[in-house]
Symmetry: D2
Subunit: 291 residues, 4 copies
Amino acid sequence: MPAPHLRPDHACLIVHGKDQPGIVAAVSALITRNRGNIVAFDQYSDDPTGGAYFQRVVFHRPDLAAALPEIRADLESTLASGFDLQWSLTDQSTPKRMAILASKQDHCLLDLLWRHRRGDLPVSIPMVVSNHTTAAEDVRSFGVPFFHVPSTPGPDKSASEARILDLLAGNVDFVVLARYMQILSPEFLERVGVPVINIHHSFLPAFIGAEPYRKAKERGVKLIGATSHYVTSDLDEGPIIEQDTVRVTHADSAAELARRGADVERQVLSRAVLWHAEDRVIRHGNHTIVF
Amino acid sequence: MPAPHLRPDHACLIVHGKDQPGIVAAVSALITRNRGNIVAFDQYSDDPTGGAYFQRVVFHRPDLAAALPEIRADLESTLASGFDLQWSLTDQSTPKRMAILASKQDHCLLDLLWRHRRGDLPVSIPMVVSNHTTAAEDVRSFGVPFFHVPSTPGPDKSASEARILDLLAGNVDFVVLARYMQILSPEFLERVGVPVINIHHSFLPAFIGAEPYRKAKERGVKLIGATSHYVTSDLDEGPIIEQDTVRVTHADSAAELARRGADVERQVLSRAVLWHAEDRVIRHGNHTIVF
Amino acid sequence: MPAPHLRPDHACLIVHGKDQPGIVAAVSALITRNRGNIVAFDQYSDDPTGGAYFQRVVFHRPDLAAALPEIRADLESTLASGFDLQWSLTDQSTPKRMAILASKQDHCLLDLLWRHRRGDLPVSIPMVVSNHTTAAEDVRSFGVPFFHVPSTPGPDKSASEARILDLLAGNVDFVVLARYMQILSPEFLERVGVPVINIHHSFLPAFIGAEPYRKAKERGVKLIGATSHYVTSDLDEGPIIEQDTVRVTHADSAAELARRGADVERQVLSRAVLWHAEDRVIRHGNHTIVF
Amino acid sequence: MPAPHLRPDHACLIVHGKDQPGIVAAVSALITRNRGNIVAFDQYSDDPTGGAYFQRVVFHRPDLAAALPEIRADLESTLASGFDLQWSLTDQSTPKRMAILASKQDHCLLDLLWRHRRGDLPVSIPMVVSNHTTAAEDVRSFGVPFFHVPSTPGPDKSASEARILDLLAGNVDFVVLARYMQILSPEFLERVGVPVINIHHSFLPAFIGAEPYRKAKERGVKLIGATSHYVTSDLDEGPIIEQDTVRVTHADSAAELARRGADVERQVLSRAVLWHAEDRVIRHGNHTIVF
């Protein structure tokens, strides 16, 4: 995976739909006639005899911004009309706007803020929203706005969710749940209108739901893990972006599992965020294609 | 973990029971007064304020065989009577006798036979039993007896299980299921009287039961794994000895997952077998302590 | 990496040379006009502003064999003449012919033979050549010819190397040194005329030369590794195809390092052989691009 | 490895010297007669027939502080006089004082400060010393004093080293070089009088010295690594405490290697610091025993 810096005059084109002969040729001819030079090309068909087709192309094109409307029109007529494919084109000089939702645990939150400051994540961070105030000072020391939205007591989260939706509306391109300990309602997920990425502190599908480290200790596993996935209305069942594991022993308490798992969580989440921000991840049903 | 070769005049002592002050001192004094010199010592308490205590000691003692009755009497009076602890003592110059049960898939079976021939497993292999004949020639080329016990059709496995129990009775110290595709009945497990070690082709507790690679493909996981565990009457729920994982991608078919998983399976199983053969694994409820 | 089986009517095209705009478009148009459908496409430029360009395309083409001369002529005029690029085209229904050279250690040798028998390596194995006779029976039990070529005593290896060259000439597409303990002369490497792949039992460039496990023990490393590389006349300095490591501790003797390293060696070598056999590896100076 | 919190009334005893029969019995009897209860016990002999012996025992003893002089006297007469062994005893309720030396790169520095704030490192941090001012504000936001000691230009570092020695003298129990880019003189190492731990950004002994990521890119390795070791006057040759590796590809630039390596560096260093702080690491010549 190349360096994540924002690249002027580079565009990323995602194409997917029904596999058909000639897609690669059509896409590359289109890029060539629009004076682009391909710098990265990934392609995948889940069934060469007629399944789904996925493609990611990064190309360099001088004066990209001026040319975008023309390129988009060409894509629409060539791919959408000609091949019945879906496509999206993003300008890689524009960072995606990422909101972070967090609770008391700050390791994933601080890790993202710090990677962003180092220039390792091609995103902007317009806000952190938390149902606790503990991280406010830390977040603001990174120059990032912090909003405290207390969780509404009781099962009806609609008031606090409405407040969060107000903050997000129009301001963000995706949301990251950095160990956010509230379950978002299906209504929230429908209304938020942007992808939501979660980090779950187990190797899914093992230990779905609450307290996975305690459950891992009870089951006596020899590895623990973490999973980053897109959030859907099925808890911990959304498309997996990235996972990893680390070795533990009988001597590790549940608290020690949590301590060691924290390292895996922040690495897995940071890779998922990076890949999403670089348009490397395509959702397909409950799966992801990661180029 | 030191080299697994059989070691003359070395004994392995396992002690477990309720944690109490003075166990280490009592055990080490016992070994010293029986003219043993400790070469490896591992100890674990699951709760220092009064939980369960586990200890593994390997000691060298000239003329061990002659001294064993005396040492055993001393252990019985010191540990069993004095501390109410359970103990077992094995002579490390005597290989454990391992039977292998297999079906059509031969990768775990052949891997164990190879490692044994290389001198990497401190066991003897008195027999391989399979419900298929495909591996007969390979097994016998290693100088190991092969017995074909066809599975009884229908849900009642008692006839074939009885045949297997006849073969095993008195001849083996533990049994390894090297991708044996029959579910053993609770009656079999009760009557077999020796530990049974299985390799399951998933990272348990994910993908319990049949066809874990197909399920892994359907869930879209980014790692696959394998788990070796002691067999209990709860399918895939016994105490875990060892696990490992390997990275896969969206491009890997279920068949490719099976091909890559086969490497993890044989490594995980060979480690579990080695550790069991070296008396490194202590069962405690549904957990294992692996020293 | 998809399944390694031989695929009828599939061709693999490798293209490399100076990066220029329009290569992807030209190649994909060429495949389309020759009635091929692209099933895998990988591309890499080491410097988008004008470095070296590498591409691997697998395409399906009904009646491929009959069409190959025409496709080759088109490649020659389009890529070689038009773009000054190098190309090679292989028919993926034809297995590469792999000779294995071995010595006394048999773990890498047997692992390759066994993977081949399982259908996991898309190669044929016309011969195993060894300077010892120990593995003869094992090799022949896999239906593979075994030739014993004793090493010539003294520094001049020319007699035994000449004998090996006679056996290989015209019969093999690549050679694998599966822990072959003789250093091949520059003359041999020049005359053999096919790629030679070695497995070195260390994480290169650490512990070049003889006895890497002893050196690893002396240095007190906490991981050991293995490296598979193309052989050049600079000992252990050729282009690396694949590497891996495994954790060890202070308690592991040099013999134990060798035992555990054997597992890493056979995995690393088998991956390197698979990727070479699938035309996934492109050499570029002292580097490899692995698609 | 159990949780790293400071534990009142727990002592850690390290014993090493020439292996002799009866050491375990003598040590455990000593602890028992001093009313201690052993909670962890690790032991290693590098040669059971008469090599070096290493032991780490953690025991709980009510009113430990009051009993320490008596226990120390017993250790001196029993182990030093009786067995000619070296020993050290530390009170595990007292954190070790750790100074951090850093330069411009802040990832290892900030990682240690974060882990400390989370309670994951049983140390106190009396100071950070840097030859740059960039991290001053960050460091002080953790409540840790920051001292700027500019590097003396030219080969003679004695002025800046003298300044650093003044700051450290009497105030610290060990020093961590968190990507400190100055080579410390043998005189400094002699005068500092406490262990110095470094993180090197390669898998030693590969890529000793400057710019290991550039060298790794040039060699074309498929894994990069990091190594934490005690500093000696031989650059990058001191006893290794911990190492790890991560997979890279041909597509990763040297800058990308550095970015990904940063994650490995901070994990490897944090583990080395934790184990040193918990008295798990014993130096023996150029090796470490890590319990």
